[in-house]
């Protein structure tokens, strides 16, 4: 009866403060390529983690080959032939390609020692399936990222994987390499009977190779295992974003100041950015839009001195400056950066609310011999904590005990407390509940109205179009164009899409 090799029905999964999956359903047909789509925070990664045994669903069924199963850890998933293909993570970089492929099941000589000749022969077989012309004796660390990824797939096949998950597989591949990857994927589906779950932001890829589509939105199914032939690009976008998504009509007061506060001229960076030109006025919100890996976050990290700007000019308030560390960005130039990765780079999880909110202001408020007391800190940051309506039992609560939304409010609050002139906000609403999201949007607009200049990085198109005054589209560490935002979703989004693919 069952043509599905993997099925998830009515799965629910909650994290503190967020319902990540709400009755989500997913059905993967045998020997098909199935696109799993959705905006950031729609629940894709949660679904993937359930399939790979990293998380367990709160309720709902996971059915593999017609039988209900429980996956307690990633190993269990591997046993059922489910493999995730990461860009390079699963390979042992100091081992050869062949050894990596055969690591679970090494051929041995009569003496019980590893037979490297046999490894080369057997691994070649897998490489051949993928038309990969690599010497099995090459070290993985000498391969390009694209080849590493193909080796990952070869390895998954050698592990007898029947279900492959590819998460943004082309984000660091060139178009040529992507094309090779796609033809290989089609080939293994056809010849090896493998089923593939394909996650991507690039819709043309989806139309190019996928058979079925499942779209998630806010943890719910916007469509379930729809045949790709019944969809076109516009329909798909509509499913992902939802018509009901509100574009907040900007109520900006004084966005038309022509008081340039920051300018980048022909900037090059050590990370590979070229020809970056940007002008930011007082009270302006500039959006940086692009796909994952377009180099937006990286550009901002160069701006605040975390990585180096190698050429070009940075001009702040009309003066040419060099910013060599986040410390001088904050103290000399009043630039703040709210990280997209709030757990790793934004907050100190083992410290409390007060310490996290005040980390940027200790130097400002210290008295003689560096004296800083909790009382002084509270006086400084309490207004911001209450202004942002952070829900916490006390200022001494550990950050790790707060919900995602409240954590994000804290990482914003610390920059408000610092009193920055230029605030860089990176993916402010990923994985955050809708109410807090709306609140943060209002806050960003209010900040700009009150005189802060903001650079907003977001992959959330509606968010970008509601907030930004102008939108810079980036791709491959370069600026592809600038879109003046008139807050009309259809026209602006299509212009952005045009720029992305130029």
């Amino acid at each position: 009866m069952n043509e599905f090799c993997l099925e998830i029905s009515s799965a629910n999964k909650s994290f503190p403060g967020v319902k990540a999956l709400d009755q989500a359903t997913f059905q993967l047909r045998k020997a098909s390529i199935h696109a799993l789509l959705g905006e950031n925070g729609a629940g894709k990664s949660t679904l993937i983690k359930i399939i790979t045994g990293v998380h367990k669903q709160d309720s709902g069924k996971l059915i593999i080959n017609g039988k209900e199963e429980t996956l307690n850890n990633p190993n269990d998933a591997t046993k059922f032939g489910i493999s995730v293909v990461h860009q390079e993570r699963n390979l042992i970089r100091r081992f050869s390609v062949g050894e990596n492929l055969m690591l679970n099941n090494m051929p041995k000589t009569a003496l019980g020692l590893i037979d490297y000749n046999e490894i080369a022969i057997q691994s070649k077989k897998w490489l051949k399936i993928l038309d990969l012309d690599i010497d099995p004796n090459t070290l993985v660390s000498d391969l390009t990222v694209a080849k590493m990824q193909l080796c990952e797939i070869a390895k998954a096949l050698s592990l007898k994987a029947k279900i492959l998950l590819l998460d943004e597989p082309t984000s660091s591949l060139s178009p040529q390499e992507s094309k090779i990857l796609f033809s290989l994927l089609k080939k293994i589906v056809r010849e090896e009977g493998v089923s593939i779950v394909f996650v991507s932001h690039k819709l043309e890829e989806v139309f190019n190779i996928c058979d079925d589509v499942t779209v998630l939105r806010d943890g719910q199914n916007a469509c379930t295992s729809e045949d790709i032939k019944n969809l076109d690009r516009q329909k798909l976008v509509r499913l992902m974003i939802g018509r009901d998504e509100q574009i907040v009509k900007s109520t900006r007061k004084n966005q038309n100041t022509k008081d340039t506060i920051l300018a980048l001229k022909n900037v090059k960076t050590e990370l590979g950015h070229k020809n970056i030109n940007l002008e930011l006025n007082r009270s302006e919100i500039i959006g940086l839009y692009g796909l994952v890996g377009a180099g937006r976050t990286e550009l901002m990290k160069c701006l605040i001195g975390q990585d180096k700007i190698t050429d070009g000019e940075v001009i702040i308030n009309g003066k040419k400056v060099t910013i060599n560390s986040p410390k001088s960005a904050l103290e000399k130039f009043k630039i703040g950066y709210i990280s997209e990765d709030r757990k790793k780079e934004g907050l100190i999880l083992i410290h409390n609310v007060l310490d996290n909110t005040s980390i940027t202001v200790w130097s400002q408020i210290k008295k003689a011999i560096g004296f800083v007391s909790d009382g002084m800190i509270s006086k400084k940051v309490d207004p911001y904590i209450s202004q942002l309506e952070v829900k916490t039992p006390s200022n001494y609560q550990l950050i790790s005990n707060l919900s995602g939304g409240n954590q994000q409010k804290i990482s914003v609050a610390k920059w408000l407390a610092a009193g920055t002139d230029i605030l860089i906000i990176d993916e402010p609403t990923v994985g955050i509940d809708i109410k807090t999201k709306a609140y943060l949007h209002e806050l960003i607009i209010k900040l700009a109205d009150d005189g802060t200049s903001i650079i907003l990085i977001s992959s959330d198109m509606p968010e970008m179009i509601s907030l930004a005054d102008k939108i810079i589209v980036m791709n491959n560490f370069q600026m592809n164009g600038i879109v003046e935002n008139n807050h009309d979703y259809d026209s602006v989004s299509s212009k952005i899409m045009e720029y992305i693919h130029t």
Binding site: P74, N90, R93, L103, M106, L113, I114, D142, T144
Partner: protein
Amino acid sequence: MAALFKKDWFGLLIVVIVSGLAIAVLKPAFLSPFNLYVLMVSISYMLIIALAQMIIIAIGQMNLSVGAIGGLVAISFSGLMEVQQVSVPVAVLIGLIIGMLCGFLNGYITVRSGISAFIITLATLYIFKGINLGITEAEPFYNIPETVKNFGNAKIGNTPIPFLIIIPIIITFLMWIFMNRTETGRHMLAYGNSVQSAELIGISSSKVVITAHVISGFLAAIAGMLVVCRLQLGTPNIGDSWLLPSFAAPVIGGAILAGGKVDVIATSLGVLIVAIISQALVIFKIDPFFVQIFLGVMILLAVFVNRYREYKQEARRKIFSSE
């Protein structure tokens, strides 16, 4: 030849040959039979100590208790023979078992508790050393059987080659096979490279970690007993000064403490370098305390060289992938 050139340890080989030649030219006494004998004796147990640490570095951990295990085995070995009148082979066997048990304890507690091996082996260092002192009350065992003493003094034929060195040579060979040609050995390196990927492939962490610690204990035990053969007595302070050299040789050999990158040949060459230059310092009548400074400087230098090499490789990779 070209293949030889590419090996990581090629540079070390050059250092060994050049420094050996230079010293021999400056001080021909370096090549005197007596000096060569002393050199080889010290190499013989240093080699095993270095390998005992190397295998733990391979899985990305460290073992502070190598010396304490060696010391405990040394006094058990000599004590069994002197006090309990146990025959030599049985004493050797019991010594090896004690070493492996100590290693098992290290590995088991590390795996089970999830606490860093540094702290666990710091604690067991004092536990093993405490047992050692508790048994001996800091008194050495002097009455070592003649067979053991003779073994410690014997040379091969008329050459200055100590008989002792046969054991480390065999062990080095076996370790090379183990690290390069057996599945368990390769799994250890894979685990050291990335615990996460190793587990995804289905390599069992507890098996890898415990095996590595048991082997480390086994090697420390052999080293401890070799020192007894050489000193002709079992003193409780055997192993006290092993910590630094045990790390020096693998690190000079290019091992990265984060794990996954160790090489038996390179480690052996590291031992040779340390031994040759220490010996040279003695011959040139340089303050013996200078040896200590020199060891420290060598470790720092090796750290810098490794860093630089990694940096270069990274740069090369970037160039490749942008093509």
